[in-house]
């Protein structure tokens, strides 16, 4: 282009960096709160007094409390996770996306107004979460706890963000999309999909709703979402950020463009399938477990490709590790990404998962990724951005940034190694048998007491990390104070609109690369789903298509490469293809559950319906976040069955036993024991009251003071539940919604429902009064007053729920589902009868 032509089309633009500064500040503000809550929650696991009793000491007795409901572990653990994911990392993502997208598109963000709405809307949502979660308002699904009005707000704000982003792309003065933008596109599209599906709910009030999925289907959808929240909120946007900021900071070219391509497509396609690895060895159908495990293993290489492209881009800049804290943070961040994405596939192997699942190993794994990869990326990028956003030549204090680096690194290592020790030790202890090989050696609480030291080490690691980020905030603040906000300007060549995004749909979608990929994937899916013999044909076609694709690629590699170079010059077809790639995995896994997860398809056992009071108790269980520490899932593993379901009528959890659970409560971590078999039969002469593994009195005393019945327990005291009135009035509405969701409740009038709940509560309260119970915090509450208080309390409703857990009706033991498409496990039964017992099991496997 000649100079004359250039000057004719060039113009000077000012980037909209104010939004970037806002998001940066918000990220630090919420980040420190989120990390602080994390440290508080960590200490609660070592010292139950941290659930509120400590307030008595620091206020010299002004506040008298065994436990403050608002800060009990079950309520603030969701606050911690939501704050660090959506506020700390979320705001950082937005800051970096707004910064880099403008520069990669050589144009100002399309709408400053939308940016403002995005910023303030997002902060309002976070503030809403910070109020509602400690108040016990929750949907009871991990990382999806926010109540439905906030869900709608999140979707609206996300649409604002997406609209602003794509509008900016449409106005870009850069023909081709850089790899960072691919990742941003994948993030925006996929998070929208995941979030909306996993938050589909029917409200029962302004603050409460039931998800439309229940039981195994809810578990499946939840972990499709949960796993991919990690993938598309904590990974892909951060990779996009890495692809922009690492070459910028290192001033080196990206290691390999073709690695970027392979890495991107493999990651977005495969990641989605891996969700079921959160449900290994549970009652989730085996074929889904296998997909979860096998796709997680396949994910290892694509993840490491991201690490390679990051670390190898730093080649030639390693000397700056000594002088530049930014490079230090980025290098360690990418290294932790590599570690975590190796550990992830490892933990997804069903045999490894049998040990690691429900233990702190998983917690450690998550934190090596979030503290290491996300946290250090945040620090590195913010230290690089601050001098540019506030027009100073350099950071306020490089020494302080170095201090942050070492504090943070030591903190992560302490944290992660503590969790390895705690997780592996507890996992081993839980499955250790006595010398006879037939009974378990340790009680649950013994395994908890054994990991107290690592727990303290973890709190220390977390505290180090928090202090590091406080230094970071100070440093960024002082950097900002020492300069003044500047919006960068750039000279850009304005592209004519009719020369950008010109690819016709036919060209974009009808060509060899797309056709071969789509057909091969379609036949692969048919191979998994079709009945015997038809599946082999599908497999053969998959192989033939793959071979044909490779041959064609070898021959026409220039054309294929040319096609992709053209594709990334057209953001709409690119986005459509990304959406197809991410939608496939979820569809294959979730759609069959609509046909399979029905009462008439259940084998062996079917859950008994909750009575109104039990349902009220279940909502208390969810509101208090009990699922954060207790699972309700006995896996198909010997130690699980021996510990939680040794009787013949107990055993492992069947899929039908949680069919009517909206949402499911299988849990993901056992800080306390599993509760799936806690309930039991009706008490003789009673029509509603049950007694299970433990009596009502035991439960009462355990909730009032867990350490009285279980010495060494770290559970918060829940005495406040017995003076808080249960929400009986809302039950008719809730049961109405459950009926709409397919729970076969008989027709009951409003009065019948309420009376049933009150009678049930009274019966339990009377059984407690017979044992002369009293509330230590309310010593004057006695006799009939106490009886009435208890009968209508949340605590008694919760006891009713406890006594119902795991109650089922037996189904005709001969009934087995016919082999059906979309259900590979039934098809497998058709080709294979039960094999003889092999030799190895005849010897008892004794403790390790």
């Amino acid at each position: 282009m000649s100079d004359a032509a250039r000057s004719a089309n060039t113009t000077t633009i000012t980037y909209e960096d104010r939004t970037v500064r806002h998001f940066l500040a918000a990220s630090m503000f919420w980040g420190i709160i989120g990390l602080f809550v994390g440290v508080l929650a960590a200490t609660q696991l070592s010292w139950w007094q941290m659930n509120g009793k400590f307030l008595e000491w620091i206020t010299f007795g002004l506040i008298q409390s065994e436990g403050l409901a608002f800060i009990t572990y079950g309520r603030i653990r969701p606050l911690h996770t939501n704050a660090v994911i959506f506020a700390f990392v979320g705001n950082m993502i937005f800051a970096c996306v707004y910064y880099s997208t403008q520069r990669l598109c050589k144009c100002r963000t399309a709408s400053t107004l939308l940016s403002r709405i995005h910023f303030w809307g997002w902060q309002a949502i976070i503030a809403g979460a910070a109020i509602t979660l400690p108040a016990g308002l929750t949907r009871g699904k991990e990382y999806a706890e926010l109540i439905w009005p906030l869900n709608i707000a999140v979707v609206l704000i996300w649409v604002v963000f997406g609209a602003n982003f794509f509008w900016t792309l449409a106005r870009r003065n850069e023909r081709s999309l850089y790899v960072s933008l691919w990742f941003y596109i994948a993030t925006i599209v996929t998070v929208a999909l995941l979030y909306i599906v996993n938050h589909l709910s029917i409200p029962t009030s302004l603050t409460h709703s039931y998800p439309i999925f229940g039981g195994v289907q809810d578990a499946l959808v939840q972990w499709w979402y949960g796993h991919n929240a990690v993938a598309f909120f904590l990974t892909t946007p951060i990779l996009g950020i890495m692809y922009y900021f690492v070459p910028k900071a290192a001033q080196r070219p990206v290691y390999s463009y073709r690695l970027s391509i392979i890495h991107f497509w493999a990651l977005v396609f495969i990641y989605i399938w891996a969700g079921p690895h959160h449900l290994l060895n549970t009652s989730l159908p085996r074929w889904l477990q296998l997909l979860g495990m096998l796709f997680s293993l396949m994910l290892w290489a694509p993840s490491w490709a991201g690490m390679l492209n990051g670390l190898l881009t730093l080649r030639g800049a390693w000397d700056r590790l000594r002088t530049d804290p930014v490079i230090k943070f980025l290098a360690v961040s990418i290294t932790f990404y590599g570690m975590a994405t190796f550990e992830g596939p490892l933990l997804s192997i069903r045999a490894v998962n049998a040990l690691s699942h429900y233990t702190d190993w998983t917690v450690g794994h998550v934190h090596s990724a979030t503290l290491g990869w996300n946290g250090f990326m945040i620090a590195g990028v913010f230290y690089w951005l601050a001098p540019r956003l506030w027009g100073t030549k350099k950071l306020w204090s490089v020494n302080m940034a170095n201090m942050h680096f070492w504090l943070g690194l030591v903190g992560i290592l302490l944290y992660v190694s503590a969790m390895w020790i705690a997780g592996i030790m507890q996992g081993l202890m839980l499955s250790q048998t006595n010398p006879d090989g037939t009974t378990l050696k340790y009680e649950f609480v013994e395994t908890l007491l054994a990991i107290q030291f690592p727990y303290i080490m973890r709190s220390a690691g977390g505290a180090f990390y928090l202090v590091g980020f406080i230094l970071c905030a100070v440093n960024l603040w002082m950097t900002a104070r020492s300069g003044k906000a500047v919006d960068a300007t750039a000279e850009v060549v304005v592209l004519e609109r009719n020369k950008v995004d010109t690819m016709p749909a036919r060209q974009a979608f009808l060509n060899d690369p797309v056709t071969y990929s789509v057909l091969a994937v379609v036949f692969m899916i048919l191979w998994m789903m079709l009945p015997p013999h038809a599946d082999k044909v599908a497999l053969a076609l998959t192989v033939i298509l793959t071979v044909k694709a490779v041959i064609t690629f070898k021959r026409d590699s220039q054309t294929w490469a040319g096609y992709f170079d053209r594709l990334i010059e057209n953001y709409i077809p690119f986005t459509v293809l990304v959406f197809i790639a991410v939608a496939i995995g979820g569809m294959v896994q979730i759609i069959p559950s609509f046909f399979v997860n029905r009462a008439e398809n259940m084998e062996e056992r079917l859950q008994e319906l909750y009575t109104p009071l039990e349902l009220a108790g279940r909502d208390v269980y969810i509101a208090e976040g009990c699922y954060n520490c207790h699972s309700q899932m006995i896996r198909t593993l010997v130690p699980d069955v021996l510990r939680y379901g040794p009787r013949d009528d107990q055993g492992y959890s069947r899929i039908g036993e949680s069919l009517y659970d909206f949402p499911h409560q299988w849990g993901s971590k056992r800080t306390g024991p599993d509760l799936a078999r806690e309930g039991g039969a009706l008490v003789p002469d009673s029509e509603v009251m049950r007694t299970g593994l433990r009596s009502n009195v035991w439960h009462f005393q355990h909730f009032v003071d867990p350490r009285q019945t279980s010495p060494g327990s770290n559970m918060p005291a829940y005495d406040f539940l017995f003076t808080k009135e249960a929400d009986i009035k809302s039950l008719p509405g809730k049961i109405h919604v459950q009926r709409r969701l397919g729970v076969p409740y008989p027709a009951m009038t409003r009065d019948e429902i309420e009376q049933h709940a009150l009678d049930h509560g009274m019966e339990i309260a009377q059984s407690l009064m017979a044992a002369e119970v009293f509330l230590p915090a309310e010593p004057d509450l006695r006799g009939d007053d106490l009886l009435r208080t208890l009968a209508s309390s949340e605590g008694v409703a919760l006891i009713a729920y406890m006594q119902k857990l795991g109650v089922y009706e037996e189904i005709d033991p001969e009934f087995r589902l016919d082999p059906t498409p979309l259900n590979p496990d039934t098809q497998r039964r058709a080709i294979r009868s039960r094999p003889p017992v092999p030799e190895e099991t005849s010897a008892i496997e004794t403790g390790r």
């Binding site: 593994l693 044992a771 099991t841």
Partner: protein
């Protein structure tokens, strides 16, 4: 790269020449090399893709491995058999007399029994076996279990009756003590532990069961 040399745009060609291709395009000053993928990386990627197909074929096409439930049930059957055998073996040599005169006078057995009691029984029957705990001012909190010190034995008062109630739990159809049912500890403890904890309870009730003094060395 200097201007005179021909531009190398393809990585394969470039690596043959021992050079690294640098793509022409530049985004906000960021350039990209176009290097070949490392072979070890390709190996991992293809190996696990192959593993996916192979595993699925072995499991679903050939049905070669057992399902989880089959595996679990086979092992549980073995364990239950061994458990029953151990119980039978113990019962062959256990009666009221053995419990009272041999086990309840053996300090080692009593220590085991005390340990088992502390771990499994204390929560419902109390540290002093009275099924209550003192909270000062002469006030007590009642625990869910029965007192084991009141000389009353709801389900039979011979030492073997006590062994059985611990081993098998509350009899079927029993309404329990104020709704509280005894768990079948034979499910989770070896029979020898149950004998030991029975001995411990007998020792605590030495008078009622005529347990001889421990003849220490």
């Amino acid at each position: 790269m200097s201007q005179e040399e021909p531009k190398i745009t393809r990585a394969a060609y470039a690596s043959k020449k021992g050079e690294i291709a640098l793509r022409e395009h530049e985004y906000d000053g960021i350039q990209e090399y176009d290097q070949l993928l490392p072979n070890w990386w390709l190996f991992i990627f293809f190996a696990f893709t192959f593993f996916f197909f192979a595993y699925w074929i072995i499991y679903y096409q050939f049905g070669l491995t057992r399902t989880d439930v089959e595996r679990l049930e086979d092992r549980l059957a073995v364990i239950n058999e061994a458990k029953a055998a151990a119980l039978e073996e113990l019962l062959a040599n256990l009666d009221d007399d053995v419990l009272v005169t041999q086990l309840a006078t053996d300090p080692e057995q009593l220590a085991v029994g005390h340990q088992v009691y502390t771990t499994h029984c204390l929560a419902c029957h109390g540290a002093d076996l009275h099924a209550r705990i003192s909270i000062g001012d002469g006030q007590f909190v009642n625990l869910p279990g029965r007192s084991l010190m009141d000389g009353e034995w709801e389900y039979g008062d011979t030492p073997m009756d006590i062994f059985r109630i611990i081993n098998d739990g509350s009899p079927p159809g029993s309404s329990g003590f104020n709704g509280a049912l005894m768990e079948a500890f034979g499910q989770r403890l070896p029979p020898t532990d149950i004998a030991a904890v029975t001995a411990y309870i007998l020792r605590e009730n030495a008078e009622q069961f005529d347990v001889p003094e421990i003849s220490g060395p």
